[in-house]
Symmetry: C2
């Protein structure tokens, strides 16, 4: 009955597994190895400690070795690196990093939760660069914070515009540094699609952050005081953060002959067992099944690590709990904005050849007549035939987290876009509208599924107009002063019924407005009057987030 469980890695996945293991059984021997000094720390809080939003370093240490050992009767060995798994005799080889001593430790079951480490590409000048950092753990954090505190840097270059890069950009910006972000792709935050990321691009630039897209680092020069990009830009800097992404800490597993996937993630079955059933693996190091498209993928986030940590403990005690794949719900604060996503984006679906439909909306975070409402750019991606929800993205200053969480929940509940209209969300003016943004997204998407509405996208309309297509802008003339799509003709919605004679029935009429709502009303009038008509999805607002 009493078994011995060895855990490699003592933070999100590992510590959660250890705690749950003990709750399920008082008698097992549980040994948790952590090569770093700290266990169970708040990885996700590290950027904010550097930025001094979090001021108390102690707060990052969720559990201490002593506290957690005592509370959960665990044998926790920090500064102890597991350097080999000896599957033939069910032991691991451990190196005590204090003494350099090595020893073997036996296990009945082994749990691997070693995480992932920042990618450090072999860029020329890297070794010579002085103030160049990556961020994963407390020592990294101390190094960066100490540099900012004592060396008084004025400029920083962030290489990589993923969420950790942007969090670092925000936090260094708030420490008063002039920040440059260099990103190889044409957008930051890969989980977003381009037009949604564009809102963030504008915001970063508005804040005075130097954003370089579609360009990579070619070399570091002057001991890291200068960053040279592929296309030859030169940026002077006092420090560099590499946040290009992470790669799974898979060496142990590979050496032990466990199966890993294409991108190096340890492969596990739905019970989180590796190719050796006595060895489980969880967290950033594993390959997971994408919840939407069921393809193998890597999603290094804390929710999956925590969830898997608990599941693994349950399974070790014979519960047979399945991990059903990762949806990839994620969120980040980027200065004044919140960015959140769930499920698949267009890029992913396109790559996999899955047909999809999208809608863009710009509803208020709460009732417009109650102060403080701000627009949410909300994108919903779904299957036009079945209404199945593939994913959603939202960018805004308020209420973004709620809407993405509601949609993530809807996905887990197997709700379609047609069901979104029936979700009864709590409404009072400070919080929402009587038709919540999620309901509204459901209405618009349902109209598409039911053929009540046809749309054209922001990236299609210019070509249509250039080729002679008719685009009617139904806003009021005064609104056009803020900008309009070249080649469009203005017929305000309220005049439309009286001016139908100006339009041709033998061609498709395209309609645009500010956010898509009045354009939709116009399409209804036109369609009912026998015209072929399509609405510019998301209106001027979505279009102009890219094109102006």
């Amino acid at each position: 009955m009493s078994k011995k469980i060895v855990i490699v890695g003592g933070v999100a996945g590992g510590a959660t597994a250890a705690a749950r293991l003990r709750r399920l059984d008082e008698t097992s021997k549980i040994v948790m190895f952590e090569k770093g000094e700290h266990i169970s720390f708040a990885n996700c809080g590290l950027p904010y400690y550097i930025g001094e939003t979090i001021t108390d370093r102690e707060k990052l240490l969720v559990q201490t070795v002593e506290g957690m050992s005592n509370k959960f009767k665990l044998d926790i060995r920090n500064l102890s690196e597991v350097i080999d798994i000896n599957r033939n005799n069910n032991t691991v080889t451990v190196k005590d990093l204090r003494t350099g001593e090595q020893y073997e430790e036996g296990y009945d079951q082994l749990v691997l939760s070693p995480g992932a480490r920042p990618i450090v590409p072999p860029i020329p000048g890297l070794k010579e660069a002085n103030a160049i950092f990556t961020l994963r753990n407390i020592p990294d954090t101390d190094r960066i914070k100490s540099y900012v505190d004592h060396k008084n840097p004025k400029r920083a270059v962030i290489v990589g515009g993923g969420f950790i890069g942007l969090e670092m950009a925000e936090n260094l910006y708030e420490r008063g540094l002039y920040v440059t972000i260099i990103e190889m792709a044409d957008q930051v935050m890969a989980p977003l699609d381009y037009e949604m990321a564009s809102i963030i691009h504008t915001h970063l630039k508005d804040k005075g952050i130097n954003l370089i897209l579609s360009d990579g680092v070619k070399s570091f020069e002057d001991e890291g005081k200068k960053v040279v990009t592929q296309i030859g830009k030169e940026i002077e800097t006092d420090m560099i953060i590499l946040s290009i992404g992470v790669r799974p800490e898979n060496e142990l597993a590979v050496r032990a002959g466990l199966n890993v996937g294409e991108r190096g993630g340890i492969q596990v079955n739905e019970y989180l067992q590796t190719s050796d059933p006595t060895i489980y693996a969880i967290g950033d190091v594993i390959e997971v099944k994408d919840y939407i498209n069921e393809q193998p993928t890597m999603i290094p986030l804390a929710w999956p690590a925590n969830r898997q940590g608990r599941i693994v403990a349950d399974n070790i005690y014979g519960k047979n709990v399945r991990y059903n794949g990762t949806l990839g719900s994620s969120i980040a604060k980027v200065l004044d904005y919140t960015v959140a996503t769930t499920g698949n984006n267009e890029k992913t679906l396109k790559r996999l050849g899955i047909p999809y439909q999208v809608v863009h909306l710009h509803p208020g975070s709460h009732a417009g007549y109650y102060p403080g409402a701000s627009p949410i750019a909300l994108k919903l991606i779904f299957d036009k035939e079945t209404g199945k929800i593939y994913g959603a993205q939202a960018v805004g200053k308020d209420g973004v987290d709620k809407r993405i969480d509601v949609i993530a929940t809807a996905i887990k509940g197997n709700l379609s876009v047609m069901d979104l209209v029936d979700i009864e969300l709590a409404y009072a003016p400070p919080y929402s509208s009587a038709k919540d943004p999620v309901n509204m997204a459901g209405y618009v998407a349902t109209n598409i599924v039911e053929g009540v509405l046809e749309t054209v996208q922001w990236n299609e309309i210019d070509e249509i107009v250039t080729n002679g297509g008719t685009l009617i802008d139904v806003r009021n003339p005064i609104e056009l002063e803020m900008g309009y799509i070249k080649g469009s003709k203005n017929i305000p919605l309220d005049d439309l019924r009286d001016r139908l004679a100006e339009l041709q029935k033998n061609e498709t009429i395209y309609v645009s407005c500010q956010v898509g709502l009045r354009g939709y009303l116009a399409t209804r009038i036109l369609q009912e009057n026998g015209f072929n008509v399509k609405n510019l999805d998301g209106g001027w607002k979505t279009y102009s987030s890219v094109f102006s």
Copy 2:
């Protein structure tokens, strides 16, 4: 094809129906009668205009008669009261309130959305009282605001502690009045259970609001300058708001012989047809099916009215869309707190004899190490056998709306408490925790379903201790200084394994802590060591929200 649709009531339900009707068909004749001056106004914003959070009166008027008539090609007749339905010849009798003239208007289909009106009980002194108000529409609002603006009242009595009463209390408080709330029940906000409402009771008192519970108004005296309660309290006041509840505006329907339910709500089928299939009814005036318990009920809220307005339009055009009942998700801001609920509460389930289980939690609104987190008192009610979610309640300063909306979505997705742990919510420190409060509620509830955890409730423990039961408080001694349950014995969690000998195996051991988490850890240790043990659900925090 082209039909004539007549709508009675031009606000939430009626205006929504009219707009959708027009979108579905350009040719129908649509006549909307509204007895008031204003259509399509923001009922829910009215208290905030009185409180001057909303400063621009225009903002309350979402659509004007002229604007909406034009945009949707509607025949809108305000100040026109429908005074009879003549089912024999499919007409309504209308009274033009400007001229006093009466006329008949024919319909092919009739939609009733006349709403509900404030209950005004025949309290002695009511007629003589001067500054006594109810709040339903713009003229009511103007009257109250004008009184506050010009008569400089110092004190207000709010009769009724429902959400409109509390919103008025907040808004008059913010205008600087000394506010008394008189509520007949032992708690405010009926959708909450008592221990959850108690948090609000404390908050109201902390703010200096005079809260009188379990007492009603006996009479108004001195022309409304004095309110005398049933038990004889006398409260001097400068104004009185009656917010005891609403009753359906059902006279038309009753006179026309349409079926109404016990509480007067018009009865409709799932397509929202009344007992006369050419007449539909929606909004506050109808009886709905409770989504959870399937009993008839009245839920006068804006989400249902809006949703039903759209469904009715669809059904008039032959779409056969079902309204599946009302969950009753609701939310209110009460000074610094947000209160939200969805589904059924304990009181309802008890009344219906449905067995249930509850859990109370106090998770942070987001990660504790990131500034600004505040606790959410979260209660989840479910079936212990199947894990079916019956309802949830939350009270806190931040993140309450999100968690209730997620649970409301889970309910619509038919997710059980066991499924809540698998909802992949978006996590970064400013927004949530790696295990979101909803996941955590799922974990605790699942442990109960699976028999890993047994609990005792806040209202059971005193009697148990009085009768000699053993209650162990596993907090640290210093925490007890803030209060503890009389008769409990302190054994800090970290010492528990060493002090098992102090406990008896032949009795149930009860355990308590601050919020329930450490108590749970203690129950695991004790259970694994062969004790019978129950955790005080929600810990000291839930207990003390009532008892201290």
